[in-house]
C-alpha cells in the first residue's frame, strides 16, 4: 500500500501562537508531503510496495538504503509528530505515563530537562524522543531521519528539531521552541495511548 499523507489532526491555525499557520502549511503540505511522495516513488515496483511505513523504515535501514530510509522514516516521523501535539496541550501528564515518568526519571521536571537537552543538543537536523525500551522509558535524540524503532524501542513522543519545524516562529531560539513544545503543545493522551500499546 502507498504511504499516506494524512491530514493534520487539527486546523492549520490550531497551534498558534506557538506554531504558526504558515509553518504548519509548509511543514505538512511541502516537507512531509515530499517525503511521502518520494518514498512512494522509490517503493513502486519493489517488494516493499505493499508494506506499511514502519516496515519500509526497518527494511530500508537493514538494507542500508539511505535514500529510501531518509524519506520513509521522515514520513513516519512527521505523521507521528503531528499526533504528538494538540491545541491546548502540554504541561504535566496524567495517567500511566505520568507514573512511569516519575518512576524512571524521578520527576516530570527531570524528564522535561532531559527531553529539552536532547532537543537542544541534536546538532544540525534531528529529533528528540521519549521511548519505551522494553523495561523503562528513555529519552534519545536522533540525527536526520533517525527513529528509535530501528533500535528496537517503541516511540511514545517526538519533537522535530529540524530548523524548518521552528524557524519561521522562533528563528534561532530552538530552546524556546523546545520549552513551548512541552509546556503548551504535547498531546499526553496520544502518549498514553502509545504507552499502553508499547507495554
Amino acid at each position: 500500500m502507498k504511504i499516506e499523507l494524512a491530514p493534520l489532526p487539527y486546523d492549520y491555525t490550531a497551534l498558534e501562537p506557538k506554531i504558526g499557520k504558515r509553518t504548519l502549511e509548509i511543514h505538512h503540505d511541502k516537507h512531509h508531503a515530499k517525503y511521502v511522495n518520494v518514498a512512494n516513488q522509490m517503493i513502486e515496483g519493489t517488494d516493499m510496495e505493499k508494506d506499511d511505513c514502519a516496515t519500509i523504515v526497518m527494511k530500508s535501514h537493514k538494507a542500508g538504503n539511505q535514500g529510501l530510509f531518509n524519506n520513509a522514516a521522515q514520513a513516519w516521523n512527521h505523521d507521528f509528530y503531528w499526533k504528538c501535539m494538540k491545541p491546548g496541550g502540554g504541561g504535566k501528564p496524567t495517567g500511566a505515563i505520568a507514573d512511569q515518568i516519575n518512576k524512571d526519571f524521578g520527576s516530570y521536571d527531570e524528564f522535561k530537562k532531559q527531553f529539552e537537552v536532547a532537543g537542544n543538543t541534536a546538532f544540525g537536523s534531528g529529533w528528540a524522543w521519549l521511548s519505551w525500551d522494553g523495561s523503562k522509558l528513555v529519552v534519545d535524540k536522533t540525527i536526520g531521519a533517525g527513529n528509535p524503532i530501528t533500535d528496537g524501542k517503541k516511540p511514545l513522543l517526538t519533537m522535530d528539531v529540524w530548523e524548518h519545524a521552528y524557524y519561521l516562529d522562533y528563528q534561532n531560539m530552538r530552546a524556546t521552541y523546545c520549552t513551548d513544545f512541552l509546556d503548551s503543545l504535547v498531546n499526553w493522551d496520544f502518549v498514553n495511548q502509545n504507552f499502553a500499546s508499547a507495554k
Binding site: G124, H164, Q171
Partner: protein, 233 residues
C-alpha cells in the same frame, strides 16, 4: 600549536583575513569579523532578517561557543583547530566559525558581484566544462545534502577544482573518522542549513541556491592557495 599573544593584537586567520580587534568584545582568541555589507544589501536574494539572525545569532553563537571551549587561550590557529578537531565541540563550533567566516566574506551586493578572474574561470572550465556545468553540479550537491550542511567549491589535493558537500558544520579539509566528503581546500561555500534561507525561501532550497550566485563577491574568491592545509603533512 597555541602561542600566547596580547589580546589587543589583530588575529590573522589562515586565509589572510585580518579581524579587527575590539578590546572587551570577546572572551577568547576569536573575534567576529566585521560584516562587509549592510544587512539589507543582499536583497532580494538574501533578506535582511536572515542576514541579521545569521550573522548576529548563528555566526556569533559558534564564535562564542568556540571561545568558551578555548577559555584561557589568548590566541589560536583556526585552521589547525578545524583540520584536526580534538572533540565534537571544537568540530562543530570551530567548523561553524570557520565556515561562516568564509561565507560572509565572499558575498556582496549584487551590483558589485562582477565575474570570476580569468585564472579562476579557466580553472572552472578545465575542471567542469563550463561555468554553467559547475553551477549545475553545485546545485545537484546542494539538493543531495539531506539535513544540515554546506556545499563547497575548492581545490582538491591534485590541484584540480572540485565540488563537495559536508554535513552540519564540517569543513572539507577537516580530518575526522567519518569523512563522507571529498577532501579539499574550499574557496567558495554555500550554507544550506535551513536557517540560511528559510525565512525567505522556506522549503525551496534550490531557488535559494540559484539566487545566491547573484551575490557572490568574486573578487574575494581567491584564485588558488598553495599553502592550504591539505599540503601540510
Amino acid at each position: 600549536m597555541i602561542t600566547p599573544a596580547p589580546v589587543a593584537e589583530c588575529i590573522v586567520l589562515q586565509d589572510c583575513i585580518q579581524v579587527p580587534s575590539t578590546p572587551g568584545k570577546s572572551n577568547g582568541p576569536f573575534l567576529l569579523p566585521n560584516l562587509l555589507f549592510g544587512y539589507s544589501d543582499l536583497e532580494p536574494y538574501i533578506d535582511q532578517a536572515t542576514m541579521m539572525y545569521h550573522y548576529n545569532k548563528h555566526f556569533n553563537g559558534y564564535m562564542t561557543n568556540l571561545n568558551n571551549a578555548l577559555k584561557g587561550t589568548l590566541s589560536a590557529n583556526l585552521t589547525e583547530l578545524v583540520l584536526n578537531p580534538t572533540d565534537s565541540t571544537i568540530r562543530n563550533n570551530g567548523g561553524g566559525f570557520y565556515n561562516h567566516g568564509l561565507f560572509f566574506r565572499i558575498m556582496c551586493t549584487a551590483s558589485r558581484s562582477e565575474t570570476p578572474s580569468k585564472l579562476l574561470e579557466d580553472a572552472i572550465i578545465k575542471s567542469f566544462g563550463s561555468m554553467a556545468q559547475m553551477k549545475q553540479q553545485f546545485a545537484a550537491q546542494a539538493s543531495s545534502r539531506f539535513g544540515s550542511g554546506w556545499v563547497w567549491l575548492g581545490v582538491l589535493p591534485d590541484g584540480k577544482l572540485g565540488i563537495t558537500t559536508t554535513a552540519n558544520q564540517d569543513t572539507p579539509f577537516m580530518k575526522v573518522q567519518d569523512i563522507q566528503y571529498q577532501l579539499m581546500y574550499p574557496f567558495l561555500g554555500l550554507d544550506v542549513w535551513e536557517h540560511a534561507y528559510y525565512l525567505n525561501y522556506q522549503n525551496q532550497r534550490s531557488s535559494y541556491v540559484d539566487a545566491w550566485w547573484n551575490i557572490v563577491n568574486w573578487s574575494q574568491v581567491p584564485k588558488k592557495n598553495n599553502s592550504h592545509p591539505l599540503h601540510k603533512t
